[in-house]
């Protein structure tokens, strides 16, 4: 890096190398800890490809923990970026796919898909996409008609859409009797356990282009925060940009939800925390959300695996226990 390198690029590189180290650190923790023992040294040797802790530990690490840690990182990244984009589009720091009901819509779609016996990919992903797009359109209609999106209108319509989605999900569940019921119930609370490396790979392939498109538009998102009028006078094709961001983000959220179920508040906690530390520039926040969101989710999933005395709980419980109180604090502060 010489003195000619733009300041923004320097900041992106420095901040994100730190966050990348953090992510790697949490992933190593995620691989080393769990219900079955094995010291960190054994895990390290196993990661290097040596038979340190025996074949069983090796299998646990590579076949069970590794895909799960990768999935957690991807899910955390996608949900954080989703939150970041919605906050920019709605010019509201409290917006988040779960709170707005977009995740709920994706869940209806996904559960319908599961009930129809579709494969997780592409069947369930597609039905989840349809569900999330439908709720997105509904929210936009409900809260439109105002020049500036009023916070309360937006959050209230989100609450209503969520209530409706929950009702539909309950209805669908009560119509189900067989073994799929357990899958659906667990999935509703956010379930990262039932995944293999193949699925995680597919999710990664779906998310990567979305991240790229959003990064390309990250400076534009900065301008959108000033309002669509001003953004337009700075040479932005506002309609095309908003449509692109909406479609890409709801695709991203749907792909994630169809793999891991409903995990809330990640998209609120991570962008907010990062914005507090690094400022609101999306060119820095976007990669930071990918890495930081990934690290956060890996830790939440690890807690969900390690905390319970027996078995495990779902990661969505942890994220909601952290996220919901934070949301209330933020809502109180934004009223001032």
């Amino acid at each position: 890096m010489n003195s000619k390198t733009p300041v923004v690029i320097k900041r992106i590189l420095i901040i994100n190398s730190l966050l990348a180290l953090l992510l790697l650190g949490t992933m190593f923790l995620g691989l080393s800890m769990g219900s079955t023992g094995g010291s960190m040294g054994d895990v390290w040797r196993s990661l290097k490809g040596e038979e340190g802790g025996g074949a069983m530990l090796n299998d646990i690490i590579w076949k069970i923990r590794f895909p799960r840690v990768i999935l957690a990182a991807l899910v955390g990244a996608a949900l954080s970026v989703g939150g970041l984009v919605f906050q920019a589009l709605l010019r509201n720091p409290l917006a988040e796919p779960y709170i707005l009901g977009i995740s709920g819509g994706a869940a209806i779609g996904a559960i319908s898909g599961i009930l129809m016996g579709l494969a997780p990919f592409p069947g369930v992903s597609l039905s989840a996409f349809c569900g999330s797009t439908a709720t997105l359109v509904l929210i936009l209609i409900l809260s439109s008609g105002q020049a500036v999106m009023v916070k309360d209108a937006l959050l209230l319509s989100g609450v209503m859409v969520n209530a409706f989605c929950t009702a539909v999900i309950m209805f669908l569940i009560s119509m189900t009797q067989d073994s799929r019921l357990h899958t659906i119930m667990f999935w509703l609370m956010g379930d990262l356990s039932s995944v293999d490396l193949h699925q995680a790979g597919i999710l990664a392939l779906m998310l990567a282009p979305c991240f790229l498109v959003i990064f390309r538009l990250s400076n534009t998102m900065n301008l959108l925060l000033l309002g669509s009028d001003l953004a337009q006078t700075m040479g932005i094709n506002v309609k095309v940009v908003i449509l692109t961001l909406l479609v890409v983000t709801s695709f991203m959220v749907s792909a994630t939800v169809s793999h891991c179920g409903l995990i809330g508040f990640v998209g609120l906690v991570i962008p907010h925390l990062l914005r507090l530390i690094f400022g609101p520039d999306h060119r820095i926040l976007l990669p930071a959300c990918i890495l930081g969101g990934g690290a956060y989710m890996v830790i939440c999933d690890l807690l969900a695996r390690v905390l319970p005395a027996q078995g495990e709980m779902s990661a969505g419980v942890i994220t909601a226990m952290i996220g919901a109180p934070l949301f209330i604090i933020l809502l109180k502060r934004s009223g001032r």
Binding site: V8, L225, M234, G235, I236, D281
Partner: protein
């Protein structure tokens, strides 16, 4: 003298209600042009049409002799900068970051600004007289400071034409005069054409080269301040009684509304 903005038979309707009707006028290059008129007369809409934010129903708008639609988005943004009425922002950008956004029409596809862009932004901050705010968070500033930040952002866009929609509304006297002085200097030192909407007739009289009085979407009167700010014209346009005399500051008309004598 060359024209900066040329408007011909412009119509604009919103949901079948005509807002602007058969407007035709020109703004000359390097002119301080102020649009006045009662609330709801279409001033903001007119500015939005020229800024390319609102489409027009019919008629033509030419910028520096070329039709508006013939400019690419970025090329257009390099010609015209726009300062809207008060902008609120819930996100904690610093003043420098906000002003730098004015460089976007000049940046590459990932929107990363270089050292020259930062220098332009620093100069814009100095021009608007707010270098000292550079590292402050925008959402902690006072109303007058916020407005000057948005003016610096527009200057940083390096435009040839500057459109401002009531930049001095709800500001104290000192901030009003500061903003008008910045515009005056932009015109004199950089030759920028300034077109502004204002409700303050006395400021308009002192700073404007020409005024346009808009009423019900049509031009009620246009010309030098002395020609537009006459008792009869203003009474008819605003529907209130007023006193017109000469401003002790110089050869400008001065308008004072008379309390208790308005037509409801």
């Amino acid at each position: 003298m060359k024209t900066a903005i040329e408007i011909n038979a412009l119509h604009f309707s919103y949901r079948n209600t005509p807002i602007l009707r058969d407007l035709s006028f020109s703004v000359l290059a390097g002119e301080f042009f102020i649009v006045i008129g009662p609330n709801g007369s279409g001033k903001t809409t007119l500015m939005k049409v020229i800024a390319g934010i609102a489409g027009r129903t019919s008629g033509s708008v030419k910028i520096q002799g070329r039709k508006m639609g013939s400019y690419g988005r970025k090329a257009f943004a390099r010609k015209i900068a726009y300062v809207p009425q008060m902008t609120t922002l819930d996100f904690p950008f610093t003043v420098m970051e906000l002003v730098l956004m004015g460089r976007s029409p000049y940046l590459g596809i990932f929107g990363v600004e270089g050292r020259e862009d930062r220098e332009t932004a620093t100069r814009a901050l100095a021009f608007a007289g707010i270098e000292h705010l550079s590292h402050r968070r925008f959402n902690r500033l006072s109303g007058g400071e916020c407005q000057r930040v948005f003016i610096a952002r527009a200057i940083c866009q390096n435009p040839e034409i500057m459109l401002l929609d009531e930049p001095t509304a709800s500001l104290d006297m000192a901030h009003q005069v500061r903003i008008m002085d910045v515009m005056e200097r932009l015109k004199k030192e950089k030759g920028i054409t300034v077109m502004m909407v204002s409700h303050d007739l006395n400021l308009a009289a002192m700073y404007g080269d020409r005024l346009l009085l808009l009423k019900g979407g049509v031009v009620a009167r246009m010309g030098e301040p002395q020609a537009v700010l006459t008792a009869d014209v203003l009474k008819a346009a605003y529907g209130c009684d007023l006193l017109l005399d000469r401003n002790p500051m110089g050869p400008y008309p001065r308008v004072t509304p008379i309390p208790g004598r308005h037509r409801v």
